[in-house]
Amino acid sequence: MEQKLKTDFDKFISSSNFSNQEIKLKKEALNNFLKNGFPSRKLENWKFSDINQIIQKNIGELVFYNNYNIENEINDDIFIKEIEHNKIIIVNGKVERLSFEYEESDKINLTTLNNFNQNPNDDNSLLSLNNSFSNKIHNILIKKNYSFKKPLVIYQITNEKVSNTNINFQLNFELEENSSIKIINLSDDNSEKNFINNLFNFNLDKNAILKNYKIDKKSNTNIKYDYSSITQKENSISETFIFSSGSDYIKNEVSCNLEGQYSSAFINGIHLLSKNKHHEIRTNTNHLYENTKSYQLIKSVIDDSSKSVYQGKIYVDSKAQKTDGYQLSKAVLLNEQAEFNAKPELEIYADDVKCSHGSASGSLDEDSIFYLMSRGLDQKTAKELLINGFLLDVIEKITDEEIKKLLKNMIGLN
């Protein structure tokens, strides 16, 4: 693999026009990845999902070279019709279109970054991989006191031109004081057996509000790793919703740093799995300042021989007194082959805190099924109704009414 990485990297660099500084950073990132390789179960974070093995088993030899010079056609059919929205269209890891047609152009500053954020202490080798092979990183800066009028939909498309390929993509958002944005991140995969590695970076200044809804619904055989890093200043709010169902394998990782007081982070997620899927959500909320709040609700419905994993960690620094942290994960196993693993973790160094977590897993409640059947529903409908209610709980947490309605329709829950 090492040789392959090196030759693909050289090919990638020579076909793109990076500055010397960028090439230097990319080389460093590559060396970092070469040193650590793909994470395996030996690492605590990857205990339940050995991505090294999963890639080996499902893809085999990966191609790391991705030609960003190819023009891709965009089919308008995939666009969401129900609501007016701004668009970022990404095809095979390349940004094809950025259109903010509903917004005031002087309130948004679009740039590309010459330098990516890399914490040298971060041992996440997939971030290094991303840094070494991703194309130019777009940065979207929302200026002070500006709220997006319409949601932004990020279409992440893959087409049949790529297979057995590693696609790396990065996007950066800066929210200045008092600004706000709503994002729907919609995957549309028409490709087979790729390893897609995404990194989203959000910096929220004072009073900023981020609402981020990630939808992976379309069935496909890709393997995905999606990392969102959110840094929050005073009074800011972030809301992340994850619907994870379509791809064969996804690990969604959300990391929130609550650095200013009264900042709060909400992460809610659904795993709706069937066949032979393996999905994981990992949340990391770091309470680093007084009076911060976080809330996580993750629900899984697991059928056939699928596997759902939830790892959630609440970290409370000794400075972060008066923290309010809550975490709940629930799973319903519908089949004997289904599996649910959880590791809800608390790491607390301050005493005046209110932190709790709960986790429950099991079958659908027999009494509830019986109750519904005694009222004339057949077993299948009764079960569906219960599952519907179980998942709706999470959808109801969505604070934006328009998007809530849209997602309900999209997912098929009422």
Binding site: A331, F340, N341, P344, L346, K354, C355, G362, S363
Partner: protein, 478 residues
């Protein structure tokens, strides 16, 4: 100078050391030392071979390092692996023959062996360093056919039982410390309850670490045959000293069909002084196997001592309808560190487990609950309930919860809850308003917090444990 020493000693109620000249094996860990131990204990050849096999395995094993509390590297070649009080070369026939100094030590510890023998109805198998001192109440137990003796004695008198069960729950191929114990274990307790016998009294062992630099490697084996019941108590105090001492015991419980074992521990070993100097490293492997149908194993522990506590009393629920329980209070103060919890491994059908864990950290201490609940594919209709609550006192300490939950069976239910908080000002205010001082108020509230677990302890222990909870938290408020 002397005043200072006395002052230091005051801090630890049980901090004293008896100066009985110890009889030691040479320092170091090698085949010769293992042969020496085996030889001096007149062990049969199969056991020596078993030890050597464990030692072979130990050579390739690495010390685990995933735990939260880190400790300085232990030089295993710099430890004594065997020491016995010299006057014990010839075993005493009865209590009166004991070294008076030993008896005095026990008196200070609050276990007057002789009174206890008559009054309390507890058979005490006291371990002083590594050799069993005296075993009382044998007659009553012998009548019922119960075997309660030191493991060395059991090896001599009941080799078949020992051979059959030793290492059947904690194999010699287990983790580093368990394997170390298998290679060099010196003594410990052995209990066998014959079929359909309910042990008429609580069996109890007091452990005590005495000789300086001696790692203690106890081995306890408890077998409850079909339809039997036993309640076993383990309590520990240790003299004060500066060097860190390693304690790597192995405890194996085996419950056959319809049998029940209740294992209670009060651990109050020397935790180190206020600056975190000294103290015992308590790296113990405790594992119970519910081998038969309808069997039950229940662990109850009150952990207040040791510089570092690192243990996970576990239950393997192999038999159908078997039950595993774990009740724990862990208290850390000053620089103490604890990484403790349990593992419930459900293999049989209709198995149930319950985990109640209460952690209290004060001072600059750090406490972690780490637990595993694993319901395998075949364990249908199994249930687990877990509750872990942590209480923090002051903002220099930490409390962490790391549960691993694995459910591979759709007919089984797992519920897990955890909370972390501090003692509320309202509660404190209420108590103080009614005339309690702050320390008393905290004691009262903490006892209430722990009540669920304290209730599980046998009477004799419950009182001591309640006191211990108060003592451990002295000076942590205000």
């Amino acid at each position: 100078m002397r005043d200072k020493q006395i002052e230091d000693l005051k801090d630890y109620k049980y901090g004293f050391s008896t100066d009985i000249e110890s009889f030691k094996a040479p320092k170091g860990l090698n085949e010769d030392v293992i042969r020496f131990i085996s030889n001096i204990k007149k062990e049969p050849d199969w056991l020596l071979q078993w030890r050597l096999k464990a030692f072979e395995r130990l050579k390739v094993l690495k010390e685990p390092n995933w735990q939260k509390p880190k400790y300085p590297k232990i030089n295993y070649q710099d430890l004594y692996y065997y020491s016995a009080p010299k006057s014990f070369k010839e075993k005493p026939k009865n209590l009166e023959d004991l070294d008076p100094k030993l008896l005095e030590t026990y008196k200070k510890l609050g276990i007057p062996l002789q009174e206890q023998k008559r009054l309390n109805g507890i058979a005490v198998d006291a371990v002083f360093d590594s050799v069993s001192v005296a075993t009382t109440f044998k007659d009553t137990l012998t009548e019922k056919g119960i075997i309660f003796c030191s493991i060395s004695e059991a090896i001599q008198k009941h080799p078949d039982l020992v051979r059959k069960y030793l290492g059947s729950v904690i194999p010699i191929t287990d983790h580093f410390f368990a394997t170390l114990n298998s290679a060099v274990f010196t003594d410990g307790s052995f209990v066998y309850i014959p079929p359909n016998v309910k042990c008429p009294m609580e069996l109890s062992t007091y452990f005590r670490i005495n000789a300086s630099d001696t790692g203690q490697f106890e081995r306890t084996l408890i077998i409850a045959d079909k339809g039997s019941y036993v309640s076993y108590l383990e309590g520990c105090t240790a003299p004060m000293r500066d060097e860190n001492q390693l304690h790597a015991a192995n405890v194996e419980l085996i419950a056959l069909d319809d049998a029940e074992i209740k294992y209670s521990t009060v651990q109050n070993w020397y935790p180190g002084d206020k600056d975190g100097k000294g103290g015992i490293y308590n790296f113990v492997t405790k594992r119970g196997l519910c081998k038969g149908k309808n069997s039950k194993i229940s662990w109850t522990q009150v952990e207040t001592g040791s510089a570092i506590t690192w243990k996970y009393p576990s239950c393997i629920l192999k038999g159908d309808n078997s039950i595993g329980e774990f009740y724990s209070i862990a208290i850390t103060n000053n620089y103490q560190k604890a990484d403790t919890g349990t593992k419930m491994i459900h293999l049989g059908k209709n198995t149930k487990s319950k985990i109640i864990s209460k952690g209290i950290s004060a001072g600059k201490s750090d406490m972690t609950y780490r637990g595993l609940v694993d319901i395998s594919k075949n364990a249908s209709n199994s249930t687990n309930y877990t509750q872990c609550d942590s209480l923090l006192m002051g903002n220099k300490c930490g409390a962490h919860t790391v549960p691993y939950i694995k459910n591979k069976n759709s007919n089984s239910n797992i519920a897990h809850e955890a909370t972390t908080s501090k003692i509320s000002e309202d509660q404190l205010h209420y108590c103080q308003q009614r005339g309690l001082n702050q320390e008393e108020a905290v004691g009262l509230i903490v006892n209430g917090f722990c009540k669920e677990v304290l209730q599980q302890l046998p009477m004799e222990f419950a009182v001591e444990a309640q006191k211990l909870v108060g003592i451990s938290l002295e000076g942590s408020v205000g």
